[in-house]
Every structure is written in structure tokens, then in C-alpha cells.
């Protein structure tokens, strides 16, 4: 005999099982771990190994982005940081914005700005032209 009870909240909401919050939660943990490595590695290389922040200029950046390794590094940092931060902000909005309207518009603002920054950053990394310097 299977469970004889009707599924809780059946009919009103959540007609099918959604694992969105589960994956969101997992993503935060995994991306957080990767970001610790990426961001601290980035800071360490930029500020200590490569001779300090004063060496960073247009030519330096141009040199780095000519290598696919740094392109991938910076790209993953950009995407993970923005999605991680964006999801965190989404949670905070869910926590603190009480009115549905406020929630909706704050989230729209968040999603649009996150999408714009991700798109812009990705575009720059892939289409960077060192000759304009």
C-alpha cells in the first residue's frame, strides 16, 4: 500500500516537485568554495606574485587576456561571483521585502542588473582588442 494521504498542499501550489531551492542551495556551497580559490588566487597572483598592484596597467591586462588560461579564470570568476551574489541577494529580498510588489520589482532590478553585468563582462573578455591601447 502506498502512502494513503493526499500530497500536502496539493491543488493550491507546487503541483509538481521543484528542486529549484535545493539546487540553489547546493550552487551556493559549491560556487562559494570555488570562489575562495579563484578570488584568493587572483589577489595573490596580482598583488604578490606578479610584482604588486602598481604593475597593473592596460598592457598588463592585454597580456593576460591573450592567454586562454586567464580568460577562463576571469570568466569563471565573473560568472560564479555574479550568480553567487545574485542568488544571495535574491534570498535577502525574499527575507526582507514583505510586499509582493516590492519583492517583484527588487528581484527584476536584481536580475536585469546581474544579466547586464554578466553579458558586458563576458563580451569584454572575449572581444578584448589589445590594439586599441
Amino acid at each position: 500500500m502506498s502512502n494513503p494521504l493526499a500530497a500536502p498542499r496539493a491543488g493550491s501550489r507546487n503541483k509538481q516537485r521543484s528542486n529549484f531551492e535545493l539546487y540553489g542551495w547546493l550552487f551556493m556551497r559549491i560556487s562559494g568554495l570555488i570562489l575562495v580559490f579563484l578570488v584568493l588566487g587572483h589577489l595573490f597572483i596580482m598583488n604578490i606574485l606578479d610584482g604588486g598592484v602598481q604593475r597593473i596597467n592596460f598592457a598588463f591586462v592585454a597580456g593576460r587576456w591573450s592567454s586562454p588560461f586567464w580568460q577562463v579564470w576571469d570568466l569563471s570568476m565573473l560568472w560564479l561571483a555574479l550568480l553567487h551574489g545574485g542568488n544571495g541577494m535574491r534570498t535577502i529580498i525574499n527575507d526582507y521585502a514583505e510586499r509582493d510588489q516590492t519583492r517583484f520589482w527588487l528581484k527584476m532590478l536584481l536580475y536585469v542588473s546581474t544579466a547586464i553585468i554578466i553579458a558586458l563582462g563576458t563580451l569584454v573578455i572575449f572581444t578584448f582588442d589589445p590594439s586599441i591601447g
Binding site: M1, N3, L5, A7, P8, R9, N14, R17, S18, N19, F20, E21, L22, G24, W25, L26, T91, N94, D95, Y96, E98
Partner: protein, 260 residues
Amino acid sequence: MSTDVMIEPATNTAPVVMPDTPTPVATDVTFRIRRYRPDYDEEPHWEDYTVALYPTDRVLTALEKIKAELDGSLTFRRSCGHGICGSDAMRINGRNRLACKTLVKDIDIRKPITVEAIKGLPLEKDLVVDMEPFFAAYRQVLPFLIPEGHEPTKERIQSAEDRARFDDTTKCILCAACTTSCPVFWTDEAYFGPAAIVAAHRFIFDSRDAGSAARLEVLNDKEGVWRCRTTFNCTDACPRGIEVTKAIQEVKQALIFNRV
């Protein structure tokens, strides 16, 4: 008996003197209570009451004394007075405690002791809140045994190990101290809250129960376990010492790995 223990005759024993145990002295203790009488007050406000108490007295004793001697209109819930019924959870000095399990000697009495209703549930009067949203969340996780198969003619046997799996969460007395200490619940009443998850945990990990899938589905909801921010306020607040945050993490684990 052929032991070496020598029991001295009672007549040889000098009267017992306990030099370090002074006779208890009643001290004046001030309580700053957040009063709200909906018939008279627009807004809740703080009022001070001073009563003489022994260090071994409980906060509940103080409230009863205030009600009996100083202000009969003070309203609070209490029932057993011994930490079993879960009626008198309140915020004492900013922390959720049972008034009947908090002794005066464990609180700093040099400053007034603040006492207010638990947060996050609708305030009805003084220290009394509407517990209905709390119990509604509790009911939604199906907090009862859902058996499978034919009714056995004998008891449902369970090994000691299987019983130990959920032992911690059987201790819950539904006082709401954990749920109303949770910052996520304060701002979002739709969140199930720690107590409901503890109740679900009690049955999800019970080997005799067959309703885990339904309960996990409820807790996988937008307002379910994923809203938990692991601040450990609930574990700190629980008067029964249940490791609430750990229970919530175990439910998360069961959901992620799809196993109980």
C-alpha cells in the same frame, strides 16, 4: 560482608557544618516587562517591577509574584511550571527561554531583567502570542506515524540503533522557543521554522514510518529547509537541548542525496 570499609557509629560524628553554604537571602530583583494590553495600549511599552527573590527562584516565580502582589493584569501562559508543557517560552534578556527553567542565579541581576513575548508571532497580550501560525506549520509536515502494509498483530519492532537515529528530536515540547528565535522566521512568517522541521525529522528518520517522501516534499518547498541560514539560534534557544540546526542539516542531506 568482608570489606575494609569502616562505618563509624553515628554518635562519634560531629554536627555537620557546611561553612560555604550561607542561608539564602532574598534580594530585590527588577524585571522590565514589555506590556501590551490591547484594550488600553496603542503600542507595547516597558514597565519595571521589583520583587524579592531567592537565587534559586525561577523567572516564572517572579512573574507569578508580580501578578499576585504588584499588578494582577500581567498576562502570561504557564501550565506545568516544570519545563514539560512548553507554555511559558519568552524572551528573557533577549534570549528565548522557558521562564520555568531559568533561575535567577543564572541571570545578571545588577541590571533590570528584560522579559518580553517571543518574536515573530502575532502579539495578543503582554507575554501571550497567537501560536496558530506555529501550529499550522507543524501540522503541514504530517507529524504522526504513517505506517505501511498490514496492521501488525504485535507491536512494531524497532532496533535500538534505529530508535537512536531520531532520539534527539523526540524531545520537542512545541514551546516555539526555536522557531521564534530564528531571524528568517522573524522576517518571513511563511518559513516553516525549526520546530516544524524537528517534528518532521522525528518521523522522517523513524524506520517504522513510510511517509518520509511526503514530508521531504513539503520541506523541499520554497519556504522549507533551504531557507535555513544555519545561525544556530534555534539550537541555542531549545530548552530541551535538541540540536535543532543539526536536525535541519540532516533533512537537507536526506533531500540532496535522496536517501533517509
